[in-house]
Subunit: 148 residues, 2 copies
Amino acid sequence: MQNSEAMALSAALLAAAGELVRRIHEGVAARGFEGVRPVHGFAFARLAPDGATVTELAAHLGVTKQAASQLVEEMVRRGYAERRPHPVDARARLVVLTEQGWACARAAEEAAAEAVRGWSEVLGEGDLRLLWERLARIAPDGPIRPGW
Amino acid sequence: MQNSEAMALSAALLAAAGELVRRIHEGVAARGFEGVRPVHGFAFARLAPDGATVTELAAHLGVTKQAASQLVEEMVRRGYAERRPHPVDARARLVVLTEQGWACARAAEEAAAEAVRGWSEVLGEGDLRLLWERLARIAPDGPIRPGW
DNA sequence: CTGGATAGTCAAGCTACTTGACCATATGGT
DNA sequence: ACCATATGGTCAAGTAGCTTGACTATCCAG
């Protein structure tokens, strides 16, 4: 693949990602969760199953643990999450979602589904799943960094 | 497609985009252009063919024209670009790349090609082109926003 | 020629991130 | 058992890169 083509592919990927984030953000806001930034949705996704420590969250988001700590602080202040003592490590604290946090996480998922549905209409469901499968192979478990 | 699947697809897309940006940035730095931020590469791509005005660059990057103006100022200061009078509009100024700017743009393309080559090994050239084609259909001509 | 739109810049402010310092707890070698 | 070192977390301060607001110069339609 030529260099200029690689650059064009990169631009397309970045544009799609930006568009997606924008739509999810709008969708979440439209569901009444204003003041929540895009990064929160992906933080929710990490916290959702069983909670996570600040350090785990930082790794997931690709930021420093101080930044993750600030993010958690903000989520706690807004009532989306709470800090609990960690069951096995007294240094750590387990951050878990509150009921409102779960509601916001669901809103983010709905917004994502809404945005992706538009793509499905363009590509078709089958191609969309192929797109997903290939993207997942490219960057498995990579951090979801906020910004460049 | 289920909501949770849409979220997972979104995460995969974001992770791939972040990974790509990181690799391009590293590649450009490795070629001796330290101090250049990722956004510069995509600014170069827009300026490369025939130059562009600040306003056009702002639209391409999805930022305010003030931010684009600051970016241009920085690029000029570093010797990557220069402002010229616009041929037909005396209000506007045409921002064009210097020789060093072209060199950096080529470095960014090489770095992008290098990063994409790794994907090609995972997906195969054909699938990679399909991925590109589908991404391009999703967000044609969308802005390349720096960050969320 | 005149009123409104557009290109660009200057200045100030904000926000989300960073680095640095610090304490509490865990872990592993001796 | 003890100490050295590593790790989880937070507080504080600094900063980069964006924003909004205000302004000038130029274009263009009527």
